[in-house]
Amino acid sequence: MSFQLRCPQCGPRSVYEFRFGGEVRQRPLPDAAQEEWYRYVHTKKNQAGEQMEWWFHRSGCRQWLQAVRNTISNEVKRTWFPDEDNE
């Protein structure tokens, strides 16, 4: 196994139970400038270090969750459901 994620519903599971959903991004408002939409649609932060990201527990409770993971070490710091009170 390469690493584990703790699903807030199902507990610690192999990363292979999840589908990776990419970095968490703020969607621009519908009338935002074209440049803002370009950046949102195409460019990525591609963080080398801790990033907030989406995961879908495909082989478990089938819910989307968010995590903070270090992309250099793959260490997962925290996981939560996005509608939960974020501390």
Binding site: M1, S2, S14, V15, Y16, R19, F20, G22, E23, Y38, R39, H42, T43, K44, K45, N46, A48, E53, T71, I72, S73, N74
Partner: protein, 404 residues
């Protein structure tokens, strides 16, 4: 054998000078090829190649060394064809054997949809003068008698795209050959030299900051593959690149039985046998973004499972090594070559993902022309970083990605 004992050095180390005309970040095959062509074709020799690791320690020393030009799009096919042709002359040009073996390349189809996709490629390839055709089971059996072509397989093989000029090369030899040629022209290679910042004044670059001191320059070329965004971040140029690990492995040597490169997108695997007899096996990218190069068991299991689908007789062989590299994936599976829109003379030759080794001679040649003359050669124009803003993405996914 005796050449191992020679006294001559392939490249020398130097103190860092205070300024260079061009600073290239990343001394993988793309940085080296661009530096070589800058010196060889344009007389630009005040060039520093900086790499934070050892020479060829990035993807250029981690790939499965497969070369081919049977891509799918009218932008991709002539570009990769030009590159393979430059590889054909490389040993002679560099006076250094890069061991290019054009053993032939087969891409397998396991479904009707797969056949249609390969037929499109074959037709496009032939229109553009690339030797490539669809072959049936009878011909596959003659070329690769050791492969399971029965209908008992989980995904039976139905047809293949056969590309005779495709093959494998010695990747380290390419890197060393370019490094030697650069060194002889007075181009400096600095390993263990990490770029930690780039200073700019408005749209102009002033200097590159490294762990060994600061270098004045107006021209920077980013050739850092998986780390591309960490460099472009230094001048606040966002890129549509996400870094994913790609893994490969090599088995114990076996008697020669496989004389072609075999690729299956359905099975997410590619296999070839080296002259030493080892099987080199590559996987698809890991299913999550990461900068971590550690090899993992699930990917090894996947490579083993799919290789056994093709060659069940290999069930008892041993794996010698497994490793990973970090790939700079773009959304349209095409590279990003050009000058940043936001900063003058901040060039990039990145986005090579899982498929960039074969592209290095052509990408380096035309990137060098762009840097030396200030105008972009038509053959690399479609790869401009401006294509995303303009909504002109390329359609290379079907021919460049192993799966998806």
């Amino acid at each position: 054998m005796f050449s191992l004992l020679r006294k001559e050095r392939m490249w020398r180390s130097h103190d860092l000078r205070r300024r260079y005309d061009v600073v290239i970040v990343g001394a993988g095959v793309h940085g080296l090829s661009t530096a070589y062509h800058l010196g060889q074709l344009h007389g630009v020799r005040s060039v520093a190649l900086l790499d934070r690791g050892y020479l060829g320690g990035g993807n250029s020393g981690r790939n499965t060394a497969i070369l081919r030009s049977n891509y799918r799009t009218p932008e991709g096919i002539p570009f990769y064809d030009a590159s393979v042709k430059l590889y054909e002359q490389m040993s002679e040009e560099l006076g250094w054997n890069v061991m290019f073996s054009q053993c032939g390349h087969l891409t397998l189809a396991h479904s009707d949809a797969g056949i249609v996709g390969l037929r499109v490629r074959a037709e496009n390839n032939q229109l553009m003068g690339v030797d490539s055709r669809l072959i049936d089971l009878g011909e596959i059996r003659r070329l690769v008698p050791g492969m399971d072509l029965s209908d008992r397989a989980r995904y039976p093989i139905l047809a293949a795209l056969y590309h005779p000029p495709g093959g494998v090369i010695r990747h380290d030899a390419v890197v060393w050959g370019y490094a030697r040629a650069c060194d002889r022209m007075g181009i400096e290679i600095h390993t263990d030299t990490e770029v930690t910042g780039i200073r700019r004044n408005g749209r102009k670059i002033e200097s590159v900051v490294t762990n060994r001191g600061e270098i004045a320059t107006e021209t920077v070329l980013n050739c850092t593959a998986g780390w591309a965004t960490t460099i472009s971040d230094m001048v606040s140029v966002p890129l549509p690149i996400v870094s994913y690990p790609l893994q490969a492995c090599v088995t114990q040597p076996l008697k020669p039985f496989l004389h072609h490169v075999i690729v299956s997108a359905t099975l997410h695997v590619y296999v070839n046998q080296t002259d030493k007899g080892e099987l080199v096996i590559g996987a698809e990218i890991d299913p999550y973004q990461s900068y971590n190069m550690r090899a993992t068991l699930p990917t090894l299991e996947q490579m083993a499972t799919y290789t056994l689908e093709l060659f069940p007789q290999l069930h008892a062989i041993r794996v010698l090594r497994q490793w990973g590299g970090i790939c700079d994936m773009t959304p349209d599976f095409a590279p990003i070559i050009g000058c940043a829109e936001e900063v003058d003379r901040f060039y990039m030759n990145v986005g090579w993902g899982t498929y960039g080794f074969k592209a290095a001679p052509a990408a380096g040649k035309f990137t060098a022309e762009m840097i030396a003359t200030g105008s972009t050669p038509g053959i690399i124009a479609p790869f401009t970083p401006a294509r995303f803003r303009a909504g002109k993405l390329l359609g290379e996914k079907a021919a460049a990605a192993v799966s998806h």
